[in-house]
């Protein structure tokens, strides 16, 4: 099974984040906080069946939700940020690096 690596990046301030994959809650964490030094808040790695998946990112504390549909055929990296009050995402085949 390929891995879906999700990084929570910019804009998190003591937030509660939830990840649903195909409507199943697979991750929940409180007090997610972006560290200004690296622009990274939290990482989670999920094993996903190959194929199309619907990933829901929910940020309870900010009443934000975003559904991301993706075809996961190989290890995938998903970056999630909160920019101007909205969830933004980026997909990459390479891990995100922080410095």
């Amino acid at each position: 099974m390929p891995a879906l690596n999700i990084d929570f990046q910019s804009g998190f301030k003591n937030d509660t984040v939830v990840i649903l994959v195909n409507n199943n809650e697979v991750f929940r964490k409180d007090n997610v906080q972006t560290l200004l030094l690296t622009d990274h808040a939290e990482s989670v790695s999920l094993d996903i069946e190959k194929g199309s998946v619907c990933i829901d990112i929910i940020i309870d504390t900010k009443n934000l939700r975003k559904a991301i549909n993706a075809d996961i055929m190989a290890t995938t990296y998903l970056g999630i940020s909160i920019v101007m009050g909205a969830i933004e995402h980026m997909v990459s085949g390479e891990p995100f690096g922080y410095a």
């Binding site: 990084d7 200004l36 030094l37 690296t38 990274h40 990459s92 995100f96 922080y98 410095a99």
Partner: protein, 744 residues
């Protein structure tokens, strides 16, 4: 044979830039059929202009721009020094001219102690001229402009700088400041460098990653994804910063740190800071200073991190041990560097070397107080401080490296070259606080050079909302000779000044309610090498919550404290910045109570450590209520202790022209209150610092003894000694308490 020569054209007019003269290129063709090569014809690329007959007198090798340093020549010769930075002509093809002049002013101190002579400079302030007017003459350049100081109030000030040159000799720069109608001060500054600042970098290496390369060296044309017209050169940490205007000297000695402990896998910020304290040869001594430490390490706790400037507040992901910005780390085991090799032969290896260079330069950039580009609202900046993948996400795949010219952006260069010194220098302002030109200045004085005495500020670090703030000031003799010092450190006596930077960036000078005139309390501090524990130092607790201008710590957030000590003679010492935090109110109840607490009456009652004056009754009532309501917290414990001590002594006031006892001591109530405080202290050892607790207990004992309750006083002192012993307080203090108790 073709040779490119420096230009020559008429410079007889004032206001013509000699760089234009110097930079006009000529193709010079030597006659191929001339055996001597003496015949040649010049073919100018630009239109030829008449050559001034005396142009050679103005020949100049190198830019005028750079760093100059010198002392005041008038009106007080040698009393002040100026570090001048002139940025008006090209220093490097990949480094823009920012058209700025800036400087740092220092006061120069001389102190003679026997045959020992100490000389040091104390930094005073920084200034900048934003758009100077520049007039080029034949053999000199004149620069004028309005001075903008980064902090404090100043009369409108102008500056005129004249820099002459002749061949290799550029300068000295004569710098004249004019403020008011007739006030002038003149400095003469020699040119020191074509860079604007100078930094020493110490790179230590973990044994597990001690493989070449340990430092980057990248040919800018090695990787094909680059700007097509990118200037080819080999970039290293030194040359990348040289282009930016910073001379980086890397210490050739690299300590190899053994990181082979069995259970050790990854580095945390705290471990990195600890390693810096152990291995950074410059860590001890006075900060801030132009020194930086970098560790080439294995893997960070978060394996996605390729490098980190770990020396920042914990809330930002740093070690949380001020002063900030002294050190960084690069993680060699990060996937970025999987293909790193000293001699790259393919694109993958070139990309790894490029990333290696990027990571070093980027982390060092953080130590200059840079945030990431997007955190400065410049997400599309082509800068060392951006992330390639973040840029690409906004602008298209591979666009960052395709457009990046291997440099900092102009705003960053401005900060690095000309920013307020405290905001730039390592160990100065905390990272991300007031560190950029667009933010309020956050500097306070600091010193350059070693002083004979060290002054430190310490505190609990974290205070609850409304908890009175007490600071421990400590003087320590760091010479090899005994040193006599005035040891009254309370600002009321005028020898010490406290500066407080509030969370909103405003800097206040703490002004005590009372000004006291007293006989100096001279104490001899023994030499550091021969002193028994503690004999080389003197500490004192200083209350700083309330003063002439009200409550100084009335807002939650981070405060920066700096203390300046004026000792006997010309001794002037300042402390490093101390950072403390005031917490948020825990409840609505606390917020409501703040309305009564942050008042004149409560502030004065606190300052006086309790009062039974009817004028302060309202304040005392508030403090009493808080002591009861918040008794299970440091706020309540402090107030209970203070009120208890107050009640242990009688209160006298003048009635009908006669001093009468208006309130007698209430030992029972005093004991009840101090017991409450001690109970809280037992539960939370951070409630009182040792020195604060000692002071309270001593004060209470004195009051009791004064009233004849010596047995009670001695019991309290013995309890104090027992408590301090448990806390590891040094024997000399315990012995002094014991002697005092016996003599009571």
């Amino acid at each position: 044979m073709t040779e490119t020569r420096k230009p020559a054209k008429s410079d007889s007019t004032v206001n013509s830039n000699p760089d234009e003269l110097m930079n006009t290129a000529y193709d010079v063709t030597f006659g191929s059929d001339s055996p001597t090569g003496a015949e040649w014809t010049a073919q100018p690329i630009n239109p030829i202009q008449p050559i001034s007959p005396d142009w050679w007198r103005c020949l100049r090798f190198g830019p005028v721009s750079g760093r100059y340093d010198g002392e005041m020549t008038s009106p007080n010769a040698g009393k002040y020094a100026l570090d001048l930075r002139v940025d008006i002509d090209m220093r490097h093809t990949n480094s823009p001219v920012l058209n700025r002049v800036s400087g740092d002013i220092y006061q120069v101190y001389n102190f003679n102690w026997g045959r020992y002579k100490y000389k040091w400079r104390v930094y005073r302030e920084s200034w900048i001229v934003d758009n100077p007017s520049v007039s080029w003459s034949r053999c000199s350049v004149g620069i004028t402009g309005s001075v903008r100081y980064w902090k404090g109030f100043h009369l409108a000030t102008g500056v005129t700088i004249v820099i002459p040159w002749q061949g290799l000799k550029i300068g000295p720069a004569e710098v004249t400041f004019t403020s008011g109608v007739k006030s002038k001060s003149v400095y003469s500054c020699d040119k020191k460098s074509s860079a604007f600042r100078e930094l020493t970098l110490e790179v230590d290496i973990c044994k597990s990653v001690n493989n070449q390369p340990t430092l980057p060296s990248y040919d800018t044309h090695a990787h094909p994804n680059r700007p097509v017209d990118l200037l080819q050169r080999t970039l290293t940490v030194e040359s990348a910063y040289a282009e930016a205007g910073i001379d980086v000297n890397i210490n050739p000695t690299h300590t190899i740190i053994n990181d082979s402990a069995a259970k050790f896998n990854t580095w945390s910020p705290a471990e990195l800071h600890d390693a810096m304290e152990l291995h950074f040869s410059q860590y001890k001594g006075t900060w801030p200073k132009w020194h930086m430490w970098c560790l080439l390490a294995g893997t960070f706790d978060n394996s996605g991190v390729g490098g980190i400037m770990f020396d920042a507040a914990a809330a930002y992901g740093g070690a949380g041990e001020p002063p900030d910005r002294q050190g960084c780390a690069v993680f060699r085991n990060h996937s970025w560097f999987n293909n790193l090799t000293s001699n790259p032969t393919n694109d993958t290896q070139d990309a790894a070397m490029r990333k290696f260079l990027y990571t070093y330069v980027h982390e060092m950039g953080h130590a200059f107080n840079f945030l990431h580009s997007w955190d400065k609202n410049r997400p599309d900046a082509l800068s060392w401080m951006n992330y390639d993948w973040k840029y690409d996400n906004r602008n298209g795949t591979n666009t960052f490296w395709g457009n990046f010219r291997m440099r900092f952006d102009d705003e960053e260069l401005l900060h690095m070259r000309h920013g307020d010194r405290a905001a730039v220098i390592m160990g100065g302002d905390p990272w991300a606080s007031g560190g950029h030109l667009e933010a309020p200045p956050g500097a306070m004085a600091d010193q350059v050079g070693e002083t004979p005495v060290e002054l430190l500020v310490r505190s609990k670090g974290y205070f609850q909302f409304m908890e009175p703030v007490n600071l421990e000031l400590r003087l320590r003799n760091i010479t090899g000779l005994p040193f006599e010092l005035e040891t009254q450190l309370n600002p009321e006596f005028g020898g010490v000044t406290l500066y407080i930077r509030q969370p909103n960036g405003r800097i206040l000078e703490y002004a005590p309610i009372f000004c006291k005139l007293a006989t100096p309390e001279i104490k001899t501090l023994k030499p550091k090498n021969t002193a028994k524990t503690g004999e080389d130092r003197h500490s004192q607790n200083v209350f700083a919550s309330y003063g002439t201008y009200g409550h100084y710590f009335d807002t939650p957030g981070e405060y920066l404290i700096r203390v300046v000590y004026n000792g006997p003679g010309d001794l002037f010492i300042n402390s490093p910045v101390h950072r403390l935090r005031i917490g948020q109110p825990f409840s609505r109840d606390e917020e409501r109570m703040a309305q009564d607490y942050f008042t004149y009456e409560s502030g004065m009652a606190l300052y006086l450590r309790g009062s039974s004056s009817p004028f302060l009754q309202k304040g005392m009532d508030t403090l009493q209520e808080m002591a009861e309501r918040f008794q299970e917290s440091p706020v309540g414990a402090y107030l209970a202790m203070m009120l208890g001590v107050n009640l242990s002594r009688p209160f006298f006031r003048i009635k009908k022209g006669k001093l009468v006892e208006s309130r007698s001591a209430d030992l029972e109530e005093a004991n009840a209150l101090t017991s409450l405080a001690l109970k809280q202290q037992e539960q939370d050892k951070t409630t009182f610092t040792n020195i604060a607790y000692h002071e309270f207990a001593r004060e209470r004992a004195e009051s009791l003894a004064g009233m004849g309750a010596k047995a009670e006083a001695k019991k309290g002192l013995r309890s104090l000694a027992k408590y301090l012993k448990e806390r590891g307080v040094k024997d000399s203090v315990l012995k002094e308490i014991d002697t005092y108790t016996k003599d009571l």
